[in-house]
Symmetry: C2
Subunit: 197 residues, 2 copies
DNA sequence: ATAAAATTTGACCCTTGGGTATAATTTTAA
DNA sequence: TTAAAATTATACCCAAGGGTCAAATTTTAT
């Protein structure tokens, strides 16, 4: 990548993060392209030099969010931990990414149905991969006699739902640190799955 | 209420339920007033004879959804059950309302930030009341030595999140009945709270 | 039957906002 | 230093959609 392209990419990332913040704060439709441009001292005209469309921006937010989650779980999969510890790490990782990248995750949770089909396809594929990884951990745990035999899919939905909801109430100014939340959620959500403790 | 007013109210309820379905399927901004009108064989002009504004419609969806949840929990509060059984009933009730009124709940979950301040105030107040009722049950359970001492607020958020997420994946055509889901969620989410079983 | 009230219609207004075109300006390279 | 490439600014286009209004139609009550 040339110096020029690199700088353009850097600027685009900047735009995406700003878009994520505004989408998250005001909602996709309520945040205008001009809002995003102004925030970064662009004009509406000039910001289009870097982006293709507003929808493109939304997609990039989703993609960035999913890539972070994927990177986290891929690393954990290689750790060789036992299924229960592995699942705990996944939960903690998910919580920490969520809280650390609140805007991005917020956008990707609050506006998935706004993605156009071609874009949605890509994102759904990644999300499915992510959930598939979790499923494998649970199935392995059941096989090893560490977890109770449960309907994996429902458990995944239950856990994901609990965690994803954090983006609705978490505030930087609140009394809870992301580590505390991560620990609590991991313990609470793993307990009913364990065969014996 | 006169015969006339009664019929108008009935029609408005019809409009609200249709709006809920379209808002839920397509999203608030993507569903136009004309879409809603057409669905019921009105024209855009004539539907405005029954509604004040699109925002008004959104509010009514929220209000209806919250009223159902409130009615459910109020009934349970009067049952005199022990805290653990009471909480279980609340969870089951919430799940069943959610699944039974998917559209309404979906709207109220996916678009709370679209409500204008005056409307939002009313809804937030009801939601706070609802959560306050749950909190009381948990606190009582801790006091009676049935529940572990936990940070109630976080537990409420965790439980609510898990349940509310159901609206994202549940389908009438799926293999799971609402009773099965309700039972599973109630068991899973209550277990980590119990001191002994 | 008929006047009054209720309901419906369809044309219209008007703002918002995504996106574009073109020209101006700045940066880069030779 | 100057021509080309990259970047930015301004003005503009246009469709969508919420909402209104006056007139037409239907329903109801006497």
């Amino acid at each position: 990548m040339s110096f020029r392209e690199e700088r353009a990419a850097e600027r685009k990332l900047n735009i995406i993060r700003t878009a994520a913040r505004l989408f998250s704060e005001k909602g996709y439709h309520e945040a205008t392209v001009e809002d995003i441009a102004k925030e970064l001292k662009y004009t509406k005209g000039s910001i289009y030099y870097y982006i293709q469309s507003k929808q493109d921006l939304l997609f990039e937010c989703h993609d960035l969010a999913m890539n972070m989650l994927m990177a986290s779980i891929d690393k954990i999969k290689e750790s060789g931990l036992a299924p229960d510890l592995m699942l705990k790490e996944v939960i903690k990782g998910h919580v920490e990414i969520m809280v650390g990248e609140l805007n991005l995750i917020n956008v990707s949770l609050a506006s998935d149905f706004l993605l156009q089909d071609e874009y949605a396809e890509i994102i759904v594929k990644k999300r499915d991969l992510y959930e598939e990884s979790i499923k494998k951990i649970i199935v392995e745990g059941i096989k090893q006699g560490i977890f109770k035999p449960v309907p994996e899919k429902m458990v995944i939905f239950l856990i994901m739902g609990a965690i994803n909801w954090i983006s609705r109430w978490f505030s930087e100014k609140g009394p809870l640190s992301k580590e505390e939340i991560a620990q609590f959620y991991a313990d609470y959500l793993l307990a009913p799955l364990m065969l014996k403790q």
